[in-house]
């Protein structure tokens, strides 16, 4: 089991990505799918997970909901990488004043709780998933940068770095290729997996809260589906198809589990 776990984790993580591709390829219209004659249908051959209380196909919405987090969370990862990796790597490599300044800046960002930071950004600049992704990426960057900083600093004077320099490898090449790519890509990947999971949870939470007040003030607003707003939309309905509430919750749990397993396997092999 423990040997299978990393693979199961990766499989669970890849699942939403595959679903995302499927959803982009498919021609499901989230807006026009309402059909109250199908309200709260139980799962059947035509609708594998049944329908929600407006008669929309739960499975299709579950699939389409991947659009609300897969792309944005990848974007969040890119943002975190673009900010966190250079900041951490350069301050670790250079040390001294540049490192102090960069780390001061990052610590300032990190001192705000991430969730609060995201909410602040939403409140100030409006509520869109891309913006939330940007905020999440920025909010996560200090964590990534700090991790990389610590590692680069400890690797900075290892023999092979000196040898590489002696061989005439340019600092940039040693830093980016040998230190970051060859030696720390797992670390970076693990942080990306963590951020992916974090963003999924964030988006789901925000969309859930947004879905509760019926007006979609946070996160993804109906009719666009999100696993969070799907739960919020259904759970108060006394006659709801139980799958319409459970399925998005289970999907979230599975992907998070996948992220945990994958992340753990990346740590184990690192050591």
């Amino acid at each position: 089991m423990s040997a299978l776990r990393p693979w199961a984790g990766v499989a669970l993580l890849l699942l939403p990505v595959l679903i995302w591709v499927l959803s982009l390829a498919a021609n499901y219209d989230v807006i026009a799918d309402v059909d109250v004659s199908r309200a709260s249908l139980a799962p059947s051959v035509d609708h594998w997970l049944g329908c929600d209380h407006l008669g929309r196909d739960v499975l299709w919405r579950l699939i389409t909901a991947s659009e609300s987090f897969v792309g944005p969370s990848l974007f969040a990862c890119v943002v975190a990488l673009v900010i966190g990796v250079p900041a951490g790597a350069l301050s670790g490599w250079l040390g001294g004043l540049p490192a102090s300044l960069t780390r001061f800046g990052l610590t300032t960002v990190a001192s705000l709780p991430r969730f609060v930071l995201v909410l602040l950004v939403c409140a100030a600049f409006g509520n869109s998933v891309q913006l939330i992704a940007l905020a999440a990426g920025v909010a996560y960057a200090p964590t990534l940068a700090e991790a990389i900083y610590a590692r680069i600093q400890s690797f900075r004077h290892r023999g092979f770095v000196l040898a590489g320099q002696a061989h005439g490898l340019r600092s940039g090449r040693i830093l980016w290729l040998h230190l970051l790519w060859v030696n720390h890509r797992r670390l970076i990947l693990r942080h990306c997996v963590q951020l992916f999971a974090y963003f999924l949870l964030l988006e789901t939470t925000l969309s859930y809260i947004g879905g509760l007040d019926g007006a979609g003030s946070f996160g993804v607003a109906q009719p666009d589906p999100s696993w969070g707003n799907m739960i919020a939309f259904e759970w108060r309905e006394p006659q709801a198809n139980i799958w319409a509430t459970l399925a998005p919750g289970l999907a979230t749990a599975l992907v998070l589990l996948g992220a945990t397993w994958t992340g753990r396997s990346l740590i184990e092999e690192q050591a």
Partner: protein
């Protein structure tokens, strides 16, 4: 082409770690730098490459001059040091640190690292970047290319280090304590490799505390003690060494040999 280092002085605070050191490395010759631990020999060697980290600003002054053809004259200065050494590191001088395994990227296969050096050297562009010939040149099996540093024995690591330097195409090679921790047969093999390198025209600076090496393959001998060169002479007839420190070292070596 030869390397000349003149008047090197390295300070840590007010204490001089190295003072007034001058040395020359000539192509096709092995210069052996001998000294007890802490005598400043590794520091001197690294200063040739501008790799004196952690004690800066420690170098007060030195002239590094590489003659013949492209003459580079670099008065040491705190400013812009890194860039000043770019043309030196690799194409001119390679360095094999004391623990050769630590000098290899732990997470990259040996072959890939040799390939990197080949690419860097610029001499093997295009298709001919296979690491195998270089492994063979240092008497290693081709399959070693697929191994990672932690899978190498000490001797193999040392050979890989030499192969890297050769692949890099450096004119000069600084070898720090190549035989430490090796059993006699392996030691002989490594010395053989170094000789072959010398014979191919590479100038070597061999750093060791073992005077026996000087006898086996030295062309020129430098003895350091407490940051100063105390003996600077051809490697023949070691018994005629002038300084008391060098003599003491020589006697110690003889006693060691006798015991063995």
């Amino acid at each position: 082409m030869s390397v000349h280092l003149r008047s090197l002085r390295i300070l840590a605070g007010k204490r001089a770690l190295v003072s007034q050191v001058s040395l020359h490395i000539l192509p096709g010759q092995i210069t052996v730098l001998v000294g007890a631990s802490g005598s400043g020999k590794t520091l001197t060697a690294r200063s040739l490459l501008g790799l004196v980290h952690g004690i800066e600003p420690g170098i007060v002054a030195a002239d590094l001059e590489i003659q013949d053809g492209e003459v580079i004259h670099r008065p040491y200065a705190a400013v812009d040091r890194e860039r000043a050494f770019v043309p030196v590191r690799g194409p001119l001088i390679a360095w094999l640190p004391q623990n050769p395994r630590a000098a290899l990227d732990p997470l990259q296969a040996v072959g890939a690292q040799i390939r990197d050096c080949l690419k860097l050297s610029g001499q093997n562009t295009g298709l001919d970047v296979a690491p195998e010939p270089w492994l063979e040149r240092v008497s290693l099996a081709k399959s070693v290319g697929r191994l990672y540093p932690h899978q190498l024995s000490g001797g193999m690591a040392q050979r890989v280090g030499i192969a890297l330097a050769l692949a890099r195409g450096s004119r000069f090679l600084i070898v720090d304590e190549p035989t430490t921790g090796l059993d006699p047969s392996l030691r002989a093999g490594i010395l053989e490799e170094l000789k072959r390198a010398r014979d191919s025209g590479v100038g070597l600076l061999l750093i060791t505390h073992d005077l026996r090496l000087v006898r086996q393959l030295g062309d020129h001998l430098l003895v350091m003690d407490r940051g100063c060169i105390v003996e600077d002479r051809p490697a023949q007839d070691l018994s005629a060494m002038q300084s008391a420190q060098a003599q003491a070292l020589w006697q110690a070596t003889l006693r060691l040999e006798a015991r063995q």
